[in-house]
């Protein structure tokens, strides 16, 4: 359940099961959930990226990772505000970011695990940015005009993220024997989480029919093809590993998300009703 925020917007209707309408019938809630999913992917990624600032392998990379984190945070803010507006209960970006618990977050599990190894961070950024670039390219034609506008801006940003991650995967894959081994291990660690990006079990098909959302499965072929091309160019192997069970879109996360949110939310929640 969501923690109610004293003296401010109404509590969430919450609980995943209650919120979901009948599959096949597009409901406003499902639309909100879909936007929240994309918002949470960006927010959680930005939070993880923020860890790197002051810890990067060189100063130029501190700047680049901060840039990427800021882009992701900007996407998250726009999408959260949009989700709040669609919901129509007066919740803004901070209500949604700071006053939901982990069961109400809708991000994929790919983005929520710690990424304190540079190879892992770049492997994950490659996966995320490849997927986001296909997703946002398609969402620019969404019948939800706000989503289309956010996608148009984000498409340019994630193109840079993809370029940045690609260059590092190439350097690390085709660098030294150590970097080759570490980059391969990083890919092996991230690959099981890719399949969740294409999972449709928590998306209302009516959103796709109505042109609001992109069918996640339609992105599988281009995303995997592009990832494979980069991995092979980097003299690495595409991991052959079983996919992990999805669930993030339904609020079923790894144990890492709760800790991340505890840190992210604690100050705000310690001062209910305060403005910052």
């Amino acid at each position: 359940m969501t923690t109610p925020r004293p003296s401010s917007p109404p509590p969430l209707r919450s609980s995943t099961e209650e919120r979901r309408g009948d599959p096949g019938q597009r409901t406003p809630d499902n639309h909100v959930d879909h936007v929240l999913g994309l918002a949470d992917d960006a927010l959680v990624s930005a939070q993880r990226m923020g860890w790197w600032i002051s810890r990067a392998p060189q100063l130029e990379e501190d700047l680049a990772l901060a840039n990427i984190g800021l882009d992701l945070l900007g996407q998250a803010r726009a999408l959260l505000s949009h989700a709040g507006a669609l919901e129509g209960q007066g919740r803004g970006e901070d209500d949604l970011a700071y006053w939901r618990d982990e069961r109400d977050f809708r991000n994929v599990k790919l983005v929520e695990r710690p990424q304190e190894d540079f190879g892992v961070a770049m492997a994950r950024l490659l996966v995320l940015s490849t997927w986001q670039s296909e997703l946002y390219a398609a969402l620019q034609r969404s019948t939800d005009p706000v989503l289309a506008a956010v996608a148009a801006k984000a498409a340019k940003e994630v193109a840079y993220h993809h370029d940045h991650a690609t260059r590092w995967v190439l350097r690390l894959g085709d660098g030294t024997p150590e970097s080759h081994a570490r980059m391969q291990a990083a890919l092996d660690a991230e690959w099981p989480w890719i399949e969740e990006l294409f999972d449709e079990s928590h998306l209302d098909p009516a959103l796709v029919t109505d042109g609001v959302a992109v069918a996640p499965s339609s992105l599988r072929e281009p995303v995997l093809r592009r990832l494979g091309d980069v991995v092979r160019s980097a003299t690495l192997e595409v991991p052959d590993v079983p996919a992990r069970v999805p669930g993030g879109r339904a609020g079923l996360h790894t144990e890492h998300l709760g800790r991340m949110l505890a840190e992210m939310q604690h100050l705000t929640r310690s001062h209910p009703g305060a403005t910052w």
Binding site: S54, R77, E93, G175, E178, A274, W276
Partner: protein
């Protein structure tokens, strides 16, 4: 900030006190006399070059170590807007570090060597970053007081006699002034917020006031003046005002701002002196400054450990990038 040049009185003295002497070329003296700029290819005394390398490197190191105390709050910023502003601010500090290392490199040194000297303690960074950031209000106090002090110190450096340093400072000062306003705004919001937020703001100002005054360095005028580089640096047009003049300017500027914030500064002796046209202030305990410079501040060990760990953890990445670049060069040569 952090463009200052002093050490603890009983610590090792950098070997730069050569003083103006016969090794100062006429062309160099002529540029100084005209208030012109010395450029990297111009003739300059070795002691001038060494002083600048040390000061610019210390300044650059301060920028990158300064990323840590604020980076400490990125994950916990209390709103997404504040999180974005803080990330951008810490990113600016990385950018300042980059310009400054580049400015130092025009003097014939190498960034990697300067970083090694930071990591093994041969070069210093500003003592202010050895204080912990304990609450969110510290983000406000650092922006308002620490960046405010940095601006007062750095604006004259925009007229420094060494061209690359002066030009880097022009851009740095613009960004610092933005940071200072952001810090003021954080504190303004807190001091007009809930009682707990107001208390948080006052506590941060109480903790950061004296260390901010110490950022200008020890007293270098009057009977209590400590032996430092001030006279030589002023003769060379690197430094334009004494530590005490700059500190006074900062105090005069800050007291009315504290009043606007509705916060008090933790100095009962702080009062306007009509005769001097300045604020009088209480005695600054420089023994604290010297202890922090010597490594005995609250966070010296943590700041260095964080920095060294990031550098060591990134070694395999830098090595890979070099190896990859070498392979590409080889390929191109092969094709050619």
């Amino acid at each position: 900030m952090y463009g200052n040049d002093f050490s603890a009185p009983d610590g090792p003295r950098p070997a730069t006190d050569a003083g103006p002497g016969p090794d100062e070329p006429a062309s160099f003296l002529a540029v100084l006399a005209e208030e012109g700029r010395i450029e990297p290819r111009d003739e300059m005394p070795e002691a001038y070059r060494r002083t600048l390398v040390r000061q610019i490197a210390q300044h650059a190191h301060s920028e990158i170590i300064g990323m840590q105390p604020e980076g400490n709050w990125i994950s916990r910023a209390p709103s997404l807007r504040r999180k974005g502003i803080l990330m951008a601010k810490v990113q600016d500090e990385a950018g300042h570090g980059l310009y400054l290392y580049a400015a130092a490199e025009t003097l014939g040194v190498d960034r990697a060597d300067l970083l090694d000297q930071l990591h093994d303690g041969r070069q210093k960074y500003s003592s202010i970053f050895n204080y912990p950031t304990l609450t969110w209000a510290d983000m406000g106090a650092i922006g308002w007081l620490v960046d405010g002090a940095a601006i007062v110190n750095q604006v004259p450096l925009c007229r420094c006699s060494f061209g690359p340093y002066a030009r880097a400072m022009v851009r740095v000062c613009k960004e610092e002034s933005f940071h200072q306003r952001q810090g003021f705004e954080i504190l303004h919001t807190l001091s007009h917020g809930t009682p707990a937020q107001r208390a948080m703001a006052q506590d941060a100002v109480d903790r950061y006031w004296w260390p901010s005054l110490m950022m200008f360095g020890p007293t270098d005028t009057g009977p209590d003046a400590s032996a430092g580089h001030t006279a030589q640096s002023m003769a060379w047009g690197i430094k334009r005002f004494s530590n005490d003049e700059l500190r006074q300017r900062f105090i005069d500027m800050t007291v009315p701002q504290a009043e606007a914030l509705g916060l008090t500064l933790p100095d009962p002796e702080l009062r306007w002196n009509d005769e001097r046209g300045h604020y009088d202030h209480g005695r600054i305990d420089f023994t604290e400054l010297f202890e922090v410079i010597k490594g005995n501040g609250p966070c010296n060990a943590e700041r260095m450990a964080h920095r060294v760990r990031a550098h060591e953890d990134g070694a395999w990445v830098r090595e890979a990038a070099e190896a990859y670049a070498a392979k590409r060069t080889q390929e191109q040569e092969h094709v050619a």
